[in-house]
């Protein structure tokens, strides 16, 4: 005769830590995913803002970026990152300063990946450190996500 006394309690005690860990993982991985999406959206928006501000077209009617396009892209990247400060494992200004921001004229070649841009383009490539929350015990206190945004003038 086998006794099942206490089997449900035992199973609960064994499963409980696993369930609590699952809950922590859902919350922290969700927050990481949200933070990564915010970092990428900040880069996208900054590149669009910079590329939408164009200088007077050249004599031939060709589109030209404003002379301060890089500066504007970096500034708006920082402004938008600052709105997600609670997700960042670093200072928004420092992250924006360390970002690789470049403005290319039509026909410019990106030294980062060799891409050739047919139109005037602003490109942002940044490494954004995000807080890893309770997952930090296993994966370190910060997770680096890559934000890459390219916007072309139209």
């Amino acid at each position: 005769m086998r006794s099942d006394d206490g089997s449900a309690s035992l199973l609960t005690i064994l499963l409980l830590p696993l369930m609590v860990l699952s809950l922590a993982a859902v919350i922290d991985l969700g927050a990481l995913r949200l933070g990564a999406a915010r970092a990428r959206a900040a880069a996208d928006l900054a590149a669009l803002v910079a590329v939408n501000d164009q200088a007077e077209p050249s004599a031939g009617g060709a589109l030209r970026l404003a002379p301060d396009a890089e500066l504007v892209a970096r500034q708006y990247f920082e402004l938008n990152l600052a709105g997600s400060a609670s997700f960042l494992a670093g200072n928004a200004a420092a992250i924006a300063q360390s970002a690789d921001v470049a403005a290319f004229p039509a026909g410019g070649v990106d030294p980062l990946d060799g891409a050739r841009y047919e139109r005037p383009t602003v490109r942002i490539a940044a490494s954004v450190p995000l807080r890893s929350g309770s997952l930090g015990t296993w994966i370190g206190s910060a997770v680096i996500v890559r934000a890459f945004a390219v916007a072309a003038a139209r």
């Binding site: 309690s9 499963l15 369930m19 809950l23």
Partner: protein, 125 residues
């Protein structure tokens, strides 16, 4: 007869496990909603920059976007600062709402969800 003991054990087990299961679902849902709200804020900031500030058209577009993401616009506070912008001036769109978290046997609370995006005025006045 162990029937009573098994029922009691199962009840205790469910009392512990059900709240965790609900918490996973509720927090997951809230984060998904937050993500949708973030995307709407970015889109709204771009549109506000094109329109030169706050307008009925902008608010209607935000409300439609919220509805299509299954978020009740009535529960979302929309702010556009400043209300009017000129060319090359920054404009911020902020969306604030609260996600209700109801975990059986444990707690019922609300989680504040705040989204904001800053674009640059594109309208020459």
């Amino acid at each position: 007869m162990d029937e009573g003991a098994v029922t009691l054990e199962s009840t205790l087990a469910l009392t512990l496990l059900v709240p965790i299961l609900f918490a996973v679902l509720q927090f997951g849902g809230a984060l998904q909603r937050w993500s949708a709200q973030d995307a709407i804020a970015v889109q709204a900031a771009r549109q506000a920059a094109e329109l030169g500030g706050d307008s009925a058209e902008l608010r209607l577009a935000i409300e439609q976007a919220l509805r299509s993401s299954r978020i009740d616009p009535g529960g979302v506070t929309i702010s556009v600062e400043p209300a009017t912008v000129g060319w090359r001036e920054p404009i911020r769109v902020r969306l604030r709402s609260e996600a209700q978290i109801a975990i059986p046997f444990l707690l019922t609370t609300s989680m504040p969800l705040s989204s904001s995006a800053i674009a640059r005025g594109e309208l020459a006045r």
